[in-house]
Amino acid sequence: MTPIPVTAYTLTSALGSGLDAVDAALQDGCGGLSPQPWQDCDVPTWLGRVDIPDDVQTEPAWACRNNRLALLGLNQDGFADHVSTAIDRYGAHRVGVVIGTSTSSIERTEAAYRELDDSGRFAPEFRQPDTHNPHSPGAFVARALGAAGPALTVSAACASSAKVFATAARWLELNLVDAVVVGGVDSLCLSVIYGFHSLQLVAPSPCRPFDRDREGISLGEAAGFALLDRADPGNAEAALLGYGESCDAHHMSSAHPEGLGARLAMESAVAASGLSFADLDYVNLHGTGTRGNDATEGQVCAQLLAAHTVASATKGWTGHTLGAAGIVEAVLCLHALTSGVVPGTLNTRDPQADFNLTLETAARRPRRALSNSFGFGGNNCALVFGLS
């Protein structure tokens, strides 16, 4: 495919708000996971929580943690200003929005059910049609930015906000729009903590991807965004070079034992970019920290990755942000390309990997990077980014 310039990007996660917070965390080797419990939740675990300032508030119709997190994220690194510039250049209806999420605003729906009135109805402040639905973050971001082109929300579990790049790339290739805001927003809530707990996948300690003694995931929340602009006159430092999407066609919550779907997504992405695996300098792994997922992904990486390609799993820094994991790790790849610093695999001490897994954060000046995202339902997506 023709490379698509990424003219702006930003990340708000447990590491903090904006890219400076990423730099500071990587420099200090200090991740964002904390043992502080979520509300009155009794599942012992570490979480990657975002401190959303009290003054970050939406209009009442859109009020929920997920949309507040989106709003906080949009206002970092001058991202909203970059989008405004694109709107001025192309017209609002030529700027599309594709946002990935798994939770959407379910945290707000949970709260509404805790406070049902005597007749079993939502209390007045919870009667928010635009909030209690899977498209809330996509519609909210479009509204907040004034982007009036086509807007949709992808909800493909943990591959959601990787797949947004594929949708956006198609829109740009077909000249349906001139620029697309892609991103992902997912927020902590009881549904995901108790849900993953029911599957016995939540680690009691900070997650340790690819560690021999890994115990499961640490959940997190995040908002990340990128602006794709095909006509960028050459200002962008990095570009989307390829994407690959696939299904496992195996099981709802466990990966294909030989990683067929994962392999297909990675191979498709690299093929679309016109590169070979040997051209990759860095791979950001899906690396959730569960026994099964890491074993499967490791097996595929051992088959596909060259010895000189450095790989790391970054969920020990941010937690597993589910529907936002795709954009979190896409931004970490983009930032590794432009800053030259490759994040290590935080918390992992005794790695179990037959490929070049790096534990240490280091300046490595990568030029080509691949990001893996694999989700429930067997939905997979891999992305290739490169320096312009």
Partner: protein
Amino acid sequence: MIVTVTGIGLWAAGLTGWSEFQQQLTVDGPPADAEFNAPRPAAIAPRERRRAGLTINLAVEVMHQACDMAGVDKAAIATVFASAMGDTDITDYMCRKLAGADRMLSPTKFHNSVHNATSGYWSISAQNRAPSSFVGGFRDSFACALLEAAACAIAEDLPVGLAGYDIANAAPLHDVAPISETLGLALVILPGEQSPGWPLTLALQAGRPAAPPMPRRAGLARLADANPMGSALTLLEALADDRTDPLCWPVGQNTGLNVTAGQRSRAA
């Protein structure tokens, strides 16, 4: 964008397939008291069907119907699933459970709560490893899915199956998103103009129409009013009637998706 519709699947009260849809057109659409029977897709084993819940069975049923009519290789097509509200039976279950004293969730219900569970069960039922997605657009979900499916068909040069569905809900969710009829429907679209099939020309326009187009027949309009995916019936009605007037769906804050069907071409 030009694509061709080659297969159609459908499930609602009184509408359990394309043949029945065409028959109902002669009597203004299904009667208001038509009974809803839950679909039982043969592609899912009976035990799995019980675990899967209504949205999954609905989406898998209509997708297989559309593929059978189109005669496409079910293992090879890309797919797009879409819903305004997703599986509100599971949303209601999880939120009630989490609001109570015992918060332990059913692991099956939890992994089926991801909106792409429909895609997951479909891909397993068809042994399909091609790209598949779930898109939400709330009230614009059908147009979002059609845009995604058409763009995917043309850009990836693949047949694409689209399944849109929403299920009837009860209070309290009914108060914020009232859905009183269950409806699932599917289209198989091929890139470019193909025969046999209905060619569709799709284009984005500046300007958001105030509302999606409604079916002309009263029985279909009633169903379209009762389900956010219902405006898709307007397209199916136009195809059945061989109508070629342009239809426009809202698909963004100030954007519409224009869809114009061409005359159906039949196999030589």
